[in-house]
Subunit: 194 residues, 4 copies
DNA sequence: ATCTAACCGAGACGGTACGTCACGTCTTACA
DNA sequence: TGTAAGACGTGACGTACCGTCTCGGTTAGAT
């Protein structure tokens, strides 16, 4: 019983929650103000009013900080209410996803992180570890599943569902609302067959 | 007559084709050797045995050099022979695409560039301007179109075709061959309906 | 009466003699191991197994700690037995002084402190306050005074006696034993005149 | 013939004399303004309007820069006119030396450098290599030599001459003018004997 | 037998200099 | 004019130490 206390109780000054929050807020602000590329560890420290060493003590890269800063926002931004009609449910989600990727601060961060992951293996592991889009997309797919008889495996489903949307945003040409609706229509058609 | 010469013929020493090739080769080598992130303008110049000024005279960023270095390779890597059966044609292309994205030098470059484009507006324009995947994907889709009655617009088609594959590679979990086949199957099902 | 107790007897936990000794030993060790320049307050605390705050509570600089650590050693290292012949007495001391400055740990510390005093006013006051060489040199000079009729003022005497030796060590070229003997010879000649 | 040109002509942009001068002036200024201890490589670069890399390209430590900055001033400050009377000649030099060590900017620098040399081997070599006091002191001693029959070796002479003065300044108690005169008197007495 | 005050160790805190690296520009000599 | 070489001013990198602070815990005299 006392042994547990020994394990829990840390010696020395405890980590400052104030500093942690200041850093996460600074990262959020800087992403919008100067963008991911121009965001530096030095800049984050200065904006947060925090020592540089404190940053390096708890995080290793700006990607890691950013991920911690946005992970909750992503889930929140992509939580949609759910509709009785399957098509509406899917469409609502994809509209939210497009809006998120194109305009939301957390969406910019998401794109920056996934982008960075393409040439930094450490970030790749980080992004892969944190489920960012998948959980929210699966929630929607699970909701409509009863109404759609022939859905493939959840992994493939999710990729077919959000993949085209994400791909288009990444290659600079987001779907129009028409295309979004047509995408949902063909998707449901294929998943309802047989 | 003379005016045309003034416009086209430049006075002074002409651009060195030797230097240009050396730079493009250096970029190719460095991408494989050290990766995109660790690739620097200084490093490219040294590897190519070229002055730093020469780089900045003809290109503005490493992204621009890399794009010029790989654009032909991308087209070549993604040109597939074509099969009588539509499903086989599509599948062959997607297998080539997956292999390209996961392993080919030009594929690594593609991912690095599209990744960088997410947080650098200049690179974004660059990547959007150069059609890298689209032309090759459309070529395949055009081949199978006669056999598939209800294909949506070419833009949406292409996105539905390659989007899920690209999305999965970008988020660290490439499709298995099974998933690839299932993807083609459901896609054709939806495009053949009514 | 009680007032005296209030002044002398402190309430609360008394200063730890164990910590004090550990610090002084750590400073001694570090001086030899890493040198004065590379010796840091942090390093001293770690080597002594002592909290950083404890250092700052009792000393302000590493110079102050070092001075406390060596002041007794200096006196001991420079105490020479005394000879019936004045020249031998002086020579014995100067040999001990040279050895001390060139090789003894306390001598290295002395040089480091006097050196630091040249660009740190606080250390300058510290070193000036503590008589390090003077008392031992004066003891020798007092012994020989009866045999030397025309010695100048003690202050000047001491400077003429040890100054050249210290100067030469500080500017990197210690006296040879021959030079030491010649130095004593001329010194005695001048102090014996008239 | 041409071989010499090849050796002399350097490729690339030549070293900026403007930057070199700016650095040496900055060091001079900073020594007086903030003192040697508070003088940093960063501070020098900023004061000189020079890149930090430029400092490290041509010098390794602030001591090295300072030495280059003051070496000419030292010689100039310690050049005395010479008097017909030997005692006056020596006294004039020692007065100049005292003034130099106590008040002159170059003298502060000299003390800082010799001080630093006591705990930094690299600076020790530097200071030992550059003859700072010796040449000027020897010049004076050479002038008076004809009038002083029994001077010891030049090395010992110089040490006996300036050593006591330097020692006293270093240990924070400069000679008074009286002591200076008495020092010269006893010195000449010993050097004139037999 | 508590209470209280000063000590102790550990270690996180906001700063700042370190020495290195790449940036994009410039200034040479040469082709 | 183009080129290779390389120095220039700028500024971020990740590390080290500064001196201060905030913990839990210890050790004494005072209550």
């Amino acid at each position: 019983m006392a042994a547990e206390d020994v394990a829990t109780t840390r010696v020395g000054r405890p980590r400052s929650e104030r500093a942690r929050r200041a850093v996460l807020h600074a990262v959020d602000d800087l992403l919008v103000d100067v963008g991911y590329a121009a965001m530096t560890m030095k800049g984050i420290a200065e904006r947060a009013g925090v020592g540089r060493q404190t940053l390096y003590r708890w995080w290793t890269t700006k990607a890691e900080i950013l991920l911690e800063a946005i992970v909750d926002d992503v889930a929140e931004d992509l939580t949609t209410p759910g509709c009785p009609e399957a098509a509406d449910d899917l469409l609502t989600y994809l509209r939210a996803l497009t809006e998120f990727l194109v305009a939301a601060p957390a969406g910019l961060a998401y794109r920056a992180l996934v982008g960075e992951a393409q040439h930094d293996p450490a970030v790749r592991g980080l992004v892969h570890g944190a489920d960012l889009l998948d959980t929210s997309a699966r929630a929607v797919l699970d909701r409509v599943r009863p109404a759609v008889p022939a859905m493939p495996s959840p992994d493939l489903c999710a990729a077919q569902f959000v993949g085209p949307v994400v791909y288009r945003v990444f290659t600079a040409q987001a779907f129009s609302d028409e295309e979004l609706r047509e995408h949902v229509r063909t998707l449901l058609a294929s998943w309802s067959q047989r």
